[in-house]
Each structure stands twice: as structure tokens, then as C-alpha cells.
């Protein structure tokens, strides 16, 4: 059987699309597999933007249009092995299974990590029960790739606005877009109490950029595809890869196994939309399926490194909502326009709160200033009967609701894993990814400590009533005022599971993202992250994919 392509990329999200651009730029021919459908790009004419997405809450938020369907391709979840084989079958932290992956549904907050996020072990030190490790790369080495990633995706932001940001070599490619009214209210309150809110670095065009229009503030941003391609979904790198003529994108094609012989990958087995199996050969394989599907594919391929699937991380999300005495129209604008980073600092108060719980330190995360935008989700929270319309008109849970969401740093733990479910299969008959996860005490203490501060800001903003919640839910002594959502973390920020490092006995990949077990396989996504940080993973994984793909192309 002949090799038709130099490289195969599994997954067309931000990591895989970036790899496709870099490998084709280096002259390699590339085949991109995507298990989901293509609504993002015109394969016959990749230079033209197809405009297929829509402002449609039912389609995107209720009916799984971007996939995966939770019945056809479920995942399973349990909090520990004591729960038995699983507690839940269905949707577990699903990212879209569609051409463009998570880049399609994200509202594109794209912060960089800070210098110390790459050196948690040496700068903050170990924590009992957590498998903290330094990254095999520093911020200084990553900075040029961050700058390049911001240009490729198109990030709007204001250099210097965040006093806690890492150093940067230049301005953002675009200025920030218009501030949402609600974010102005909460930012003013935060500022008054000594915090430092700033315009969120956002992969949404504030001006025409790279042939794509400026955002027109339609409000259907997080969880939706952008109807006018104003978001930094991966349409740009995919389009650039395809117009070289050296790339082919194959949607609805599910890679079921990497073929590996004697420490070398030779190709992949894949399943087409009718369920038929095929083989495709190539000398280089890039895996970019996301931090849950990537370890699943490695395990389905028979790889045996006991670190595969270990240390899965989410963000511990702490929500503080305030019902305001006035309307905030959160349905106008790009979901989140302001954030603050103060809770990422390990200051004296944080150390004191940590010491009380016998922890050496605690770290929070980026706080998003947000307000809900969608009516069906709102309506379902109200009771039926005469109260329904009264509540819908007064709108305490949407048009008068402001919120904070802290993306709290989640420490890696060896016992938090993604593996293959022993019985549940997807529609193709393949074992699905099973997550075994519970937060470390660190996350619970940090959530409680910083959640109380966020409640003070919300009070200062004028909220009539304040509610707090966490995801995953907190239990036991640390539950305090937090209400329960679910033990399955709802954060879509997933990382870990194939960490890279300098020691083959404690990592899955080498410092360039290549499998120790098969060095012609490169992992491109957030599976590589040894620690998570309190920032969303996307810009960092794009920057890493740039760095590692360039070395992989040689």
C-alpha cells in the first residue's frame, strides 16, 4: 500500500489546524481527519468563507448540532474507583466534534499564561497528593510563539492593561472590542475594591482582520458558531493549509487506531460515515483530538505508557451571580469583555487561607465578568404556571443577572484519569473515554477563599441578591454556601492526560510533544500540559502546536 501523504493529522480544532498550516508551509502533504461534520469551510473553494452558522439557541444549545451526539458518542464518568465502573453515561465535558473543533463554539477568550505557570514545581513547590511538574519549556521560549499565535488567530486586546500579565514583545494585533454594559458595572465595582479588571484578550475581530469582518455584537457567541466568521475559529489556518493544494480535509472520518510497529507509527485505521474501515499510511502522525479523545486514541492504539490518561485537569469554576435592580442586556456583545487576574496571585491572604487547610499555597484563576444571554435556558429555570411570564418579564436570571466565573487552577493528580470504559461503546463499537475525577483540597479551599471576595465585589456592584455555586460541586465541610451543580465539571477547559517532560518515566511525550514510545507521533493539544494554570488553554496550545509542529516538519 502506498503512502499518499507525508503526514496525517487527527483532529481539525485549533491545535490540528495550526499543525496543518505549519506542515503544509514546510512543503509536506497532509491529510486531516475530522470525526465530525464540516460546517466551517468550503472544501471546493477554501479561500471563500461559507457562512453556515446561525443565531439559533435550539440548534446549538439543546440539539447538539456541533456534536458529538451524547447517545452516539457518549463518555462516562465517576468520581473514583469506589463508584464502580461508572456513575454516568452521556455528555462529559464535550467539546464540539466538528471541523474547527473547540474553536467553533468558544467565545475566544485567549489569554497567555504567566511566567510562573511553566514553573509551578520550582517556584511554588510541591503539594501533597498532586503530581505537579515544571514544563519542559519556559515562558521566555514560548513568547515568540504566543505573539505568532495571536497574529494567526487574530486576538483583540490592550497591552499593559493587566498589571499581572507576563512580558510581551509587542501590541495585540487588534484593539479591544466594545465593552458590554454589565462588565462596565462589575469592573467599576472591582476597581473600587482594589482589583484590576481589563479588556479580555479575545479571538473576536474588533476590526476587519485577515479578510474576515469585525464582530457585530449579535450575542450568540459562547457555544455558537459565528455566522460571519468574526471569531478566531480555525477557519483561517485551515483555509491557508488547504489553498496550498498540499492538504486534504476528510470530515466524518473517525480515526480508530494508530498503527504502530517497533516504536514507529506507519499510519492509521479509520472508519467512514457508513461504518466501513480503511487504512491510510504516513510517516508522521499528529494527534490533536483534545485532552479526552487523545488519550483514548493512544490507548485504543495499544500504547502502554502508564502515564497515558493520567493527571486530567479541568478548571474548578466558581460562580458568583448577582441579581441587579436594573437591566444589563447581556444578549448584546461577545459574551465576556472584561476579566481580572488578581486571584491568580499567591499573596499573604491566600497563603494564610492555605495554611489553615494544611496546604503550602493556593491559587485561583482568571475571573470572567459575564451575563447570561439566552432565553430558553432562562425559561427552564422558572416554575410553570402564572409565575412563568411574571419571571420572564422581570428576568432575574437573565436580563438582570451579572456574574463572575473564576477559572480556578486545578492541580494534576495521578488518580484523576481518562481511560477506556470497560463496557460502554460508541456507535462504531469502540470503547468510549471514561473520566475518573475529583478535585484536590487545593481547589476547594481556593474556591471558597476567592469566591467570598467575588461576592464582595458583586455586593459593591449593587446586587440585590447574590448566589454562589461551583463546578464540580463541592461537598463535605468545604461546601459552605456553595450550591450544587454536578460532580461532572462543566468546564470545557480540559488538559493533562499525555504530559510532556524530560523524563520518559514520568511523562508521555518528550519536550517537543513526541511520544516517547513512538517518536514519529506528535501530540499537539492540551493533553501535553503538565499543569493547568488559571487561564483557558487555547492560545497556549496553539502556541505549542506552532513550536512543536515546526520542529516536527524538519
Amino acid at each position: 500500500m502506498s503512502r499518499d501523504f507525508d503526514a496525517i493529522i487527527v483532529g481539525s480544532g485549533p491545535a490540528g489546524s495550526t499543525a496543518a498550516e505549519i506542515l503544509t508551509e514546510a512543503g509536506l502533504s497532509v491529510l486531516i481527519f475530522e470525526r465530525g461534520r464540516n460546517h466551517l469551510i468550503d472544501l471546493d473553494n477554501p479561500a471563500v468563507l461559507p457562512r453556515r452558522f446561525s443565531n439559533d439557541e435550539l440548534k446549538y444549545m439543546t440539539r447538539h448540532f456541533l456534536g458529538p451526539d451524547p447517545w452516539a458518542e457518549p463518555r462516562t464518568f465517576r468520581t473514583s474507583i469506589a463508584d464502580g465502573d461508572r456513575q454516568l453515561v452521556g455528555e462529559v465535558n464535550n467539546l464540539p466534534a466538528t471541523v474547527g473543533g473547540g474553536g467553533v463554539h468558544a467565545d475566544g477568550k485567549l489569554p497567555r499564561f504567566r511566567e510562573d505557570d511553566f514553573l509551578v514545581e520550582s517556584e511554588l513547590g510541591p503539594v501533597e497528593g498532586a503530581s505537579i511538574a515544571d514544563w519542559p519549556v519556559t515562558y521566555d521560549e514560548m513568547e515568540p510563539y504566543y505573539a505568532e499565535a495571536e497574529r494567526l488567530v487574530g486576538v483583540a486586546g490592550l497591552a499593559g492593561a493587566n498589571p499581572f500579565a507576563a512580558w510581551r514583545s509587542g501590541e495585540y494585533p487588534m484593539p479591544p472590542g466594545p465593552a458590554m454594559y454589565g462588565a462596565l458595572v462589575t469592573s467599576a465595582a472591582a476597581q473600587k475594591l482594589g482589583y484590576h479588571p481589563y479588556p479580555a484578550p479575545t479571538g473576536v475581530n474588533s476590526i476587519e482582520y485577515d479578510g474576515r469582518p469585525a464582530c457585530n455584537n449579535c450575542g450568540f457567541c459562547a457555544y455558537f458558531g459565528c455566522p460571519i466568521h468574526a471569531k478566531g475559529d480555525p477557519v483561517a489556518p485551515l483555509s491557508r493549509a488547504l489553498v496550498t493544494g498540499r492538504a486534504q480535509l476528510r470530515p466524518q472520518s473517525h480515526v480508530s487506531r494508530i498503527l504502530i510497529e517497533n516504536g514507529q507509527a506507519t499510519g492509521v485505521e479509520w472508519i467512514d460515515a457508513r461504518g466501513e474501515r480503511h487504512i491510510e499510511l504516513a510517516g508522521r502522525i499528529v494527534v490533536a483530538c483534545g485532552a479526552m479523545e487523545t488519550p483514548r486514541l493512544l490507548l485504543l492504539s495499544g500504547l502502554t505508557n502508564e502515564q497515558i490518561g493520567r493527571n486530567v485537569m479541568f478548571h474548578m469554576q466558581t460562580f458568583v451571580f448577582g441579581i441587579m435592580p436594573f437591566r444589563v442586556h447581556g444578549h448584546m456583545g461577545r459574551s465576556v469583555t472584561h476579566v481580572h487576574d488578581d486571584h491568580i496571585l499567591v499573596d499573604e491572604a491566600a497563603r494564610a487561607a492555605a495554611a489553615e487547610a494544611d496546604l503550602p499555597w493556593i491559587k485561583g484563576g482568571l475571573v470572567e465578568h459575564c451575563s447570561p444571554a439566552h432565553m430558553i435556558a432562562e425559561a427552564k429555570q422558572y416554575p410553570w404556571g402564572p409565575q412563568h411570564k411574571i419571571m420572564m418579564r422581570e428576568s432575574p436570571m437573565r436580563d438582570r443577572l451579572l456574574g463572575f466565573c473564576m477559572q480556578g487552577d486545578d492541580l494534576p493528580q495521578f488518580t484523576n484519569t481518562v481511560d477506556l470504559d470497560p463496557a460502554v461503546t460508541d456507535i462504531w463499537g469502540l470503547p468510549v473515554a471514561r473520566t475518573t475525577y475529583q478535585p484536590h483540597t487545593h481547589e476547594l479551599v481556593a474556591s471558597r477563599h476567592h469566591g467570598a471576595k467575588l461576592a464582595q465585589i458583586m455586593k459593591e456592584a449593587g446586587a440585590e441578591r447574590i448566589m454562589t455555586a461551583t463546578s464540580p460541586k463541592t461537598t463535605g465541610d468545604l461546601a459552605t454556601s456553595h450550591s450544587e451543580i454536578s460532580q461532572v465539571p462543566i468546564s470545557r477547559h480540559v488538559a493533562g492526560t499525555a504530559r510532556f517532560g524530560t523524563d520518559p518515566s514520568s511523562s508521555v511525550c518528550d519536550p517537543w510533544g513526541r511520544l516517547w514510545e513512538a517518536p514519529n507521533v506528535m501530540i499537539a493539544d492540551s493533553s501535553l500540559f503538565p499543569t493547568g494554570s488559571g487561564y483557558g488553554p487555547t492560545l497556549t496550545l496553539v502556541a505549542l502546536s506552532l513550536r512543536n509542529s515546526r520542529a516536527f516538519a524538519v
Binding site: R52, S54, G333, M375, W384, G385, K389, S395
Partner: protein
Amino acid sequence: MPAFLTPLQYSILEAVCARLVPADGAPDGAEMGAVDYIDTLLGAFTFTPPRIWAGGPFSGRCGGQRSFWDFEELSPAEELAWRTRIEGSLGIPERERLGPVTGLQETYRQGLAELGGKFLALDPAAQDDRLREVGDFTRLVYEHVCEGLYGAPEYGGNRGLAGWQYLNYEGDVQPRGFTDAEVSGA
């Protein structure tokens, strides 16, 4: 002509929706199209393409072509998942991979049969009591009523945009969007 419901089922569901979202200054849930939304969902596969996902990018309500009416085709896997969800597994092996599934059609058939034609003769307070008694079914219908009132009208509900209009909600606004002044102003 309903896509799935019989005339009696349709009438009972109208009465249910009128209690879940009663009339006040604005029309009740049935008058705003909730029953037609549910009927379109239950009968989604009587249409080609099925009425699962409306098209895009624009509805035409704020400019652009009226492309929501061009419903999306489903892949074989998507069709299997949605037929299983709506019609149930019905003993078909490929639909029972995760165990038997009771479809929405059967849930509605049973739920409406349990309320029966006599529900129509009850006074509103007695109707509310019955709805509380059949709590699980009522919760399911209420979720669908919320979808039917506030979702896009192409899915069968939100008749004449009644669900959006009584709240002065703009709905889908592409390609017009909102101005920077609307976003940032009070």
C-alpha cells in the same frame, strides 16, 4: 394538519400548555405555538430533511436570505441517534447499544393518555392538580414549551414571534447585530 399528534392528543396538549404558561396580557402557551413545536419535534422525520436543525446563516428577520428554512441533512449516525431519541429503540438492535430507549413519541402517547379526554372538562385549578400529579411528564412538556415559545419559529413554535414580542426580545439579529453604543450603554 399535525405531523404526529391525533386530534384528541392535540387538544389535550393545548389545554396542558395553556396551564403551563397561562394567558395574561399576552396569549397562553398553546396560542404562542408550543403544541405545534412539540408536534413538529415528535414528527420531525415526516419532513425531508427532518426538522431537527434549521439552516443558516440568517432567518431574514434582520436582513439576509431566509435560510433557516433550509433544514440540515443528517448523517447516518445523526439520523440513528435522533430516530432513537424520538421514536425509541423499538427492539431494533442498533438502537439498543446502550440499552432500550423509550422514545419521546411513546412518552407523549402515554402521558397524554393518562391525562385523557377528561382533562379537557376539568376547571383550571383541577387541571393544575392533575399536572402536579403527573410531575415527570409535566416537567418534560414544560421544557418543550420553553423551547417552543422562545426558540426560532422555524421549529414550529413561537407563533408570529409571540414569545419574543411580549418580552421585547430581538431574537436572531444577524446580519444586523447590535451597535457598539447599544452594547456599552445602560
